[in-house]
């Protein structure tokens, strides 16, 4: 092996398991979900076919360590750093130029404000989620007794006017809204007396009791399944006051109704997993990383296009209930919003748009993006308070 890879190659030669573990650790530090058996797999792979050059080493390591397409940028960066020996792997943590770690953020990486109560006046948007890691999820246990007693009043207060502590008091309420999308027919069937299909297997089994004569015909009816739910949340500057609350709402949907969740400002980021794991702050961190000019405005059209291209068309949006939460202030070209909304509405079962500004007196959907999207929206709702979100939940359950 020549060039920068030589050092690592020698280490691999001398003690493959040790070198494998070192690479695995560097990858894990960068946020890849690397378990010890991955390192073992890499060591076994190099023993089977000793890498001849940088490229064969790269492919062996990539196949052994990577488990999804999203991890490739991070993998490439770490591989470059470790194998080419340009950077000490330990230094690559939280580096400004390093690719965004996936899922788990390294502890010292720049993050969006995490503590709701101390949201700074600094550059970072006020999007804390009332708690970190372990404490997260028990928002009401924080000392907010003065407001916690008054959840009812808070439930009618515009999210934009809530103090962080007050929002914490609502967290449990927001997370626990019960979502149910309308059913669609599943392919699989279950036994039902008046079913439309004959179940030969069950009929035959029963026929044995009557001497092989299928006296009673067992039938099946196709089972019904809830439709998929997809939520797209605008977290740009103009939505700042609402994003925190809506993210809690999405967390409930992601966990309760197995919804898919995305956030966007200038770029679209999938946050389903972070929300399902009860790590909404990680979801925000990822979104913040993906959109450095976070409060700089929204590119709704591009976000919708990214969703349609990468996920929607492949099946995620098909026959689904899609909820877009955005004020419709589009920085880009409104005609793109119209085009992508049309595509989305063709795929989806129903499209619901939640615009917190819709509650304002004399609201007219004239913001460029909103006006462009409106013809393709089945229902426009405000969802600006906890109680108003009830209407959204109801709309999600409505049939066409």
């Amino acid at each position: 092996m020549t060039g920068g890879g030589a050092h690592f190659a020698r280490a691999l030669d001398r003690d493959a398991p040790l070198a494998a573990v070192a690479l695995g650790r560097a990858l894990r530090d960068a946020g890849l979900p690397v378990t010890p058996d991955r390192s073992a797999r890499f060591a076994a792979a190099t023993a089977l076919s000793p890498p001849r050059d940088r490229s064969s080493l790269y492919w062996t390591a990539r196949v052994a360590f990577v488990s999804s397409h999203e991890q490739l940028p991070a993998f490439d960066a770490v591989f470059g750093a470790v194998v080419d020996g340009l950077v000490d792997p330990a230094d690559s943590r939280g580096q400004a130029g390093a690719p965004a770690p996936l899922e788990a953020a390294p502890p010292d990486a720049p993050t969006v404000e995490r503590q709701g109560g101390e949201a700074a006046d600094g550059g970072a948007p006020r999007l804390g989620l009332g708690g970190d890691g372990e404490g997260e999820g028990e928002g009401v246990e924080r000392p907010v007794a003065s407001v916690a007693s008054d959840v009812e009043r808070l439930a009618d207060t515009n999210f934009g006017e809530l103090e962080p502590a007050e929002l914490d008091a609502l967290a449990v309420l927001l997370r626990s809204l019960a979502f149910a999308t309308p059913p669609r027919r599943a392919r699989r069937a279950r036994l039902a007396r008046r079913g439309e299909r004959l179940d030969v297997r069950a009929t035959l089994r029963r026929a044995q009791r009557t001497g092989g004569d299928p006296v009673r015909h067992e039938r099946r009816r196709r089972r019904e399944q809830p439709r998929p739910l997809v939520a797209l949340l605008d977290v740009s500057g103009s939505m700042e006051a609402y994003a925190r609350a809506y993210l809690l709402f999405l967390e409930g949907a992601a966990r309760g109704a197995r919804a898919e969740a995305f956030v966007f400002a200038t770029r679209l980021t999938r946050v389903t997993k972070a929300l399902r794991d009860g790590r909404p702050h990680a979801a925000l961190d990822r979104a913040a990383r993906a959109a450095p000019d976070w409060s700089g405005g929204t590119k709704i059209g591009e976000a919708l296009k990214a969703f349609n291209d990468r996920w929607g068309r492949r099946g995620m949006a098909r026959d689904a209930v899609v909820v877009v939460l955005s004020d419709g202030w589009e920085r880009g070209d409104p005609s793109l919003v119209a085009r992508e909304m049309e595509r989305l509405s063709r795929l989806a079962y129903r499209v619901i748009w939640v615009n917190p500004r819709a509650a304002a007196f004399g609201f007219q959907p004239v913001a460029g993006g909103m006006a462009a999207a409106l013809p393709f929206v089945d229902e426009l709702l405000s969802g600006h308070t906890a109680n108003a979100l009830d209407d959204v939940v109801e709309a999600i359950g409505r049939t066409r």
Binding site: W59, S67, S68, R187, R201, A207, G212, G315
Partner: protein, 289 residues
Amino acid sequence: MTVESPAEVADRLAGVDYLADEGLATALFLALRLPQPLLLEGEAGVGKTEAAKALAQALDTPLIRLQCYEGIDVSEALYEWNYPRQLLRIRLAEAQGGDIAEEDLFDETYLVRRPLLQAIEHEGPRPAVLLIDELDRADHDFEAFLLELLAESSVTVPELGTIRATNPPVVVLTSNRTRDLHDALKRRCLYHWIDYPSPEREVEIVRRRVPGSARELAEDVAAAVARLRASDVQKPPGIAEAIDWVAALRLLGAERLDAASAGRTLGSVLKYREDQESVRAEGLERLAP
């Protein structure tokens, strides 16, 4: 017949006209030798399914394919009993005035083997290639069931007992990423993301698949297809589309790709009306070299 290196895998695949790059060859080599299931992902049309087919052909072993869909279950993936035949057997026993024991009714004669069972029972001499296609379309329960099967290389049929693979299959799974597969499944699998081939490689692929096609034409098409993939079309053309396109052009007697010939054959490469319209609006001459 064991392969000794990724390069040997690539050579064998080339022998059956499948051109794999180093990454895919490495992934397939490790899947064969570690051995471990391989999860292939990539844009539609980069040749995920083809890779498994070519591997089976190159290893001279059967390809057993399970196409997943929403609601697929054990009776469609693993096994089912042949009810009409069982019913006839009952009638026959009855007509002969006899009786039939249940274990005679549920014996292997009446077992319909679906792909997963076929793969487990495959006797060899070489392991079969089991292709589990578009796993993301199946639901979570099925994924969990599959995980168990992959881990154990055995299945249990309640009426017959446990069937263990004597010659465990080489398992290739593909996904179009309409949803995330379960982490536990990903952990068990090797992973490879297939990119679109480089234009040079695509020329080679096309020329192998369309016998007698001129190099210039294949080069024109590879370049045009690369431009289409980078542009803003809803359904970027895959390798199959490039092959179809060259075949169509050749059939019409075109020697090079120009605006006229592209216009007549656009339907073989772009499958959405909107895509065709936007490409025509931008000018077909932009597809020509």
